[in-house]
């Protein structure tokens, strides 16, 4: 029997309501509602199998999806951007630590120069890396990704363990990774440009 998306969504809502009712019901009512929940779950499961999708993700699966998005962005953009940013910023500000004498002619290997310590603290506090990290994190949270892609990832989670994936499953994961990176690049290329072309002033 072919189940439509409308029917599947309807059954999903019935299942959700039934499961929340089950927490408060007892006795005969409980078994009746349990039966309704099982029937609805069965229909949703058949729909999922027929269409290679998951329309009823759990909170844990949604959490794993969010983590997956962040890891794709981390290895695709974030790490490289932040590394370059750190190099530019600290490279422009802390070059004088390489000398034995600090700017105020105090041998920093033996004594503390309070002015330099304060400056160093200011440099750390005003580092743009924290802001960049926050902005990228916000961008990950607000990234708009096709619902279908999310459902496919959750289906992959249900089909396989993350430790022992077959080549087909690995290929699906790689494809999802590329899609997310492409979406991030399309939606936030201004953010990437902003930090790629960051110019640190002394």
């Amino acid at each position: 029997m072919e189940i439509t998306i409308y029917e599947a969504e309807k059954q999903k809502i019935i299942s959700e309501r039934a499961h929340s009712l089950l927490k408060i019901l007892r006795g005969n009512d409980q078994s009746q509602v349990q039966e309704i929940a099982n029937k609805a779950d069965g229909i949703v499961s058949v729909y999922n199998n027929q269409n290679h999708t998951v329309i009823n993700p759990t909170q844990m699966e949604l959490g794993k999806w969010n983590t997956f998005i962040k890891s794709c962005i981390k290895y695709g953009f974030k790490d490289q951007l932040l590394d370059e940013l750190k190099q530019k910023y600290y490279g422009a500000h802390e070059s004088y630590y390489e000398e034995d004498l600090c700017k105020h002619n105090i041998d920093w290997t033996e004594f503390h120069c309070e002015i330099c310590d304060k400056e160093r603290k200011d440099i750390r506090d005003n580092s743009p890396t924290d802001l960049a990290e926050k902005e990228i994190k916000d961008a990950c949270n607000n990234l708009i990704v096709d619902k279908e892609i999310k459902e496919k990832y959750i289906l992959l989670l249900r089909k396989s363990s993350s430790y022992n994936r077959s080549p087909l499953e690995m290929a699906v994961q790689d494809s999802l990774k590329v899609i997310i990176q492409q979406e991030f690049f399309n939606q936030y290329n201004q953010l990437i440009t902003k930090y790629t072309n960051y110019e640190a002033s002394k």
């Binding site: 892609i149 077959s166 080549p167 087909l168 290929a171 699906v172 999802l176 590329v178 990176q181």
Partner: protein, 78 residues
């Protein structure tokens, strides 16, 4: 040759997984298809890298008033 995008490839791969579960294809075939799909993914990653490089070149050209361009190897006639 059939045009492919990421989504169609994912659908194809899930279809293959289904066939593998039902023993309609053997493990070796599924493995080979997985490896081929990896190559397609590499081509798609290359597209992304190309876009990033183009963006960097554009910025560089506007900053230093240069006219560097990325060669269009793919579209040239042989």
């Amino acid at each position: 040759m059939k045009p492919v995008n990421n989504k169609s490839m994912i659908a194809f791969l899930f279809d293959q997984m289904d066939k593998l579960d039902k023993d309609e294809i053997d493990v070796l075939k599924a493995k080979e298809q997985g490896n081929l799909a990896k190559q397609v993914n590499n081509a798609m990653k290359y597209e992304l890298d190309r876009a990033k490089t183009k963006m960097d070149i554009k910025q560089h050209n506007s900053e230093f008033n240069n006219n560097i361009s990325l060669r269009e190897i793919e579209s040239s006639n042989f």
